[in-house]
Amino acid sequence: MALRTYLQAISDGLREALAGDESVFVMGEDVGAFGGAFKVTDGLQAEFGPDRVRDAPIAEAGIIGSAVGAAIAGMRPVCEMQFSDFVACGFDQLVNVAGKMHYRVGLSVPLVLRLPSGGGFAGGPFHSQNPEAWFMHAPGLKVVAPSTPEDAKGLLAAAIADPNPVVFMEHKHLYRRIKGEVPGHPYATPFSARVARAGSDLTVIAYGAMVHAALEAAEDLEGASVEVLDLRSLAPLDEEAILDSVAKTSKVLVIDEANRTCAAGAEVASLIADRAFGHLDGPVRRLATPDVPIPFSPPLEEAVIPTADRIAEACRELLDY
């Protein structure tokens, strides 16, 4: 075990995958000599050469589509969008070509698409988005979103080993802010939820950066026993873990950093309202970024993205219900 940042954990995972499997290669804009816009791939090109750590032209459809081709030829491409926001430019290749290939014609597409996502640092409307729900709503894609360094490395390994296209949401605001103990050897983390904090009065369901906000809020709530469930995998959703937690606590708050309407949290809340109705002791509350592009100016951005304070407030209201 070693203390690693979230970013280092992802780098480590990439390095281990490249070292361990000849069919793995990394591709994206400026991922080579420059080491990526966030330096996640720093040093990898020097270590593995320009064929296996490939700089791509600014062509998101080209990156995703050619990765699909390489994948069906037996490779395991791991691609980076420079910011998750740019995946919109390769959207069609991802949802229509990669996602449906196996169902339609039986070919596997073992492709990982890394999406540096999320806000919190004045990135503005095009460098702060959380597009995961689009891909949850696209059959054939898996979507994972680690919140800790340990899970980041483990979920990345599992994503690379998976024979299906996996969208890997890595939250930029966790990159250097979050440190944790990470095993020094390769390991895979299952695509299932994790109880980040056990509790009995209320469940807060979150993923990615919001897990940390939820944990902070839970700490603040003296006297209440708040469970925090870290989804980790958004598609597939770990329905059992969600329902189990709600059965235990009877109250639930679902958090999204993404825009509210049709977000991951909408699916989670609707699942609970359907399958855990009998256990509920209060409304299924949601806290999410409202349906607004992420504004640049810090007071505005801070006003829209859920914070620990607002999570705590929503918890208090629910606890009092």
Binding site: F25, D51, P57, A59, A61, G62, G65, S66, A67, V68, G69, A70, A71, I72, A73, G74, M75, D92, Q93, N96, V97, K100, H102, Y103, R104, V105, G106, L107, S108, P110, P139, G140, K142, P163, N164
Partner: protein, 339 residues
């Protein structure tokens, strides 16, 4: 380079393509093929000629709705194709896909997606993998004149040239995209753009199967020699409507008549002579009857299977190798017993 047996094979494949599509059209009109129906009437020389030039390990990614011939040359089982068309149980698509949206991965064919020309980008990725692994293989992709207007066309062209990929792009310039003539799609012919990317280009008579073959053979040699991609323009005319629902009344009669005189099958047939042609036609008709009879025995898929296989479980399934008639390779048994 082509010998008499090759020519007979080419004729057979084109006649087969046309006959399968004619049969398909009547099955569609009888309600036995659901959805819609598309064919490649008049364009048989392109998919047949181009695919004929490939090696067994080369990939076709992908034949489009005018390119049934590519599937036939690669060795896709005919009964399977009919089952697929009719939405019956089959190993190509399990009823999940229809019309020419299929590909037998076991013979190196990647089924197309509708979004044009996405598969050109994917073909580039296949070629990238081949090159990365230093394999002597290439990928071939078909696309229409209309598809050249889309951004993915550009990204595929740039990618192929930048990395010098072993990929062959076959442009089927049939003068129309659905109802839209090329004059309303672009101001300059796409074949002229290839050079601006650094992609070699050649333009051939798309109704001359030997010309298409020869251009593809050369492009393949270039690809395997490490000399990069080639764009082959095959000039032709779509002789039917866009699909069975379209009477193509927007195509001038004189234009159709002009191209009727250039029918690719008649052209090769006249070279081979009446006797040989008649033999091929009879052979093909019998083959279709037999395949269709087998296909008709297949049940419709069980509703309970609709949700199967969205995800792959276990080891990844990759491309296999197909028949390569010209180089003498025939995939031993492309289809398992089930077929």
């Amino acid at each position: 380079m082509l010998d008499a047996a090759d020519r007979r094979g080419l004729l057979r494949a084109m006649v087969l393509m046309r006959a399968v599509e004619e049969r398909g059209l009547s099955l569609y009109k009888q309600g036995k093929i659901p959805g819609s129906f598309y064919d490649g009437r008049g364009q048989e020389a392109i998919s047949v000629g181009a695919t004929w030039a490939l090696g067994a390990a080369d990939a076709v990614c992908s034949p489009l709705i005018r390119d049934l011939g590519a599937h036939l040359v690669r060795g896709t089982d005919l009964a399977e194709i009919f089952r697929h068309y009719m939405g019956r149980e089959n190993e190509l698509s399990h009823g999940r896909e229809g019309n020419v949206h299929f590909g037998d991965r076991r013979v190196g064919v990647v089924g197309m997606v509708s979004m044009l020309p996405d598969m050109m980008v994917v073909a580039g990725g296949l070629a990238m993998a081949f090159k990365l692994r230093s394999e002597q293989r290439c990928a071939l992709s078909f696309f229409g004149d209309g598809a050249t207007s889309r951004g993915d066309w550009h990204e595929a062209m740039n990618w192929a040239a930048l990395y010098g990929l072993p990929v062959i792009f076959v442009l089927e310039n049939n003068q129309f995209a659905y109802s839209t003539p090329t004059s309303r799609q672009f101001a300059r012919e796409p074949v002229a753009r290839a050079a601006a990317y650094g992609v070699a280009a050649v333009s051939v008579d798309g109704n001359d199967v030997e010309a298409v073959f020869e251009a593809t053979r050369e492009a393949r040699e270039r690809a395997l020699a490490g000399d990069g991609p080639t764009l082959i323009e095959a000039r032709t005319l779509r002789m039917h409507g866009h699909g069975a629902h379209d009477d193509a009344s927007y195509i001038p009669t004189e234009l159709l008549e002009e191209w009727l005189g250039r029918d690719p099958i008649e052209r090769l047939a006249s070279r081979l002579g009446e006797e040989e042609t008649a033999a091929v036609e009879a052979e093909v008709a019998a083959q279709i009857d037999a395949a269709l009879a087998r296909a008709m025995e297949a049940p419709m898929p069980a509703p309970g299977t609709a949700g199967d296989d969205v995800f792959c479980v276990g080891e990844p399934v990759t491309l296999g190798e197909g028949a390569a008639p010209w180089s003498g390779f025939a995939a031993p048994d492309p289809l398992p017993a089930a077929a």
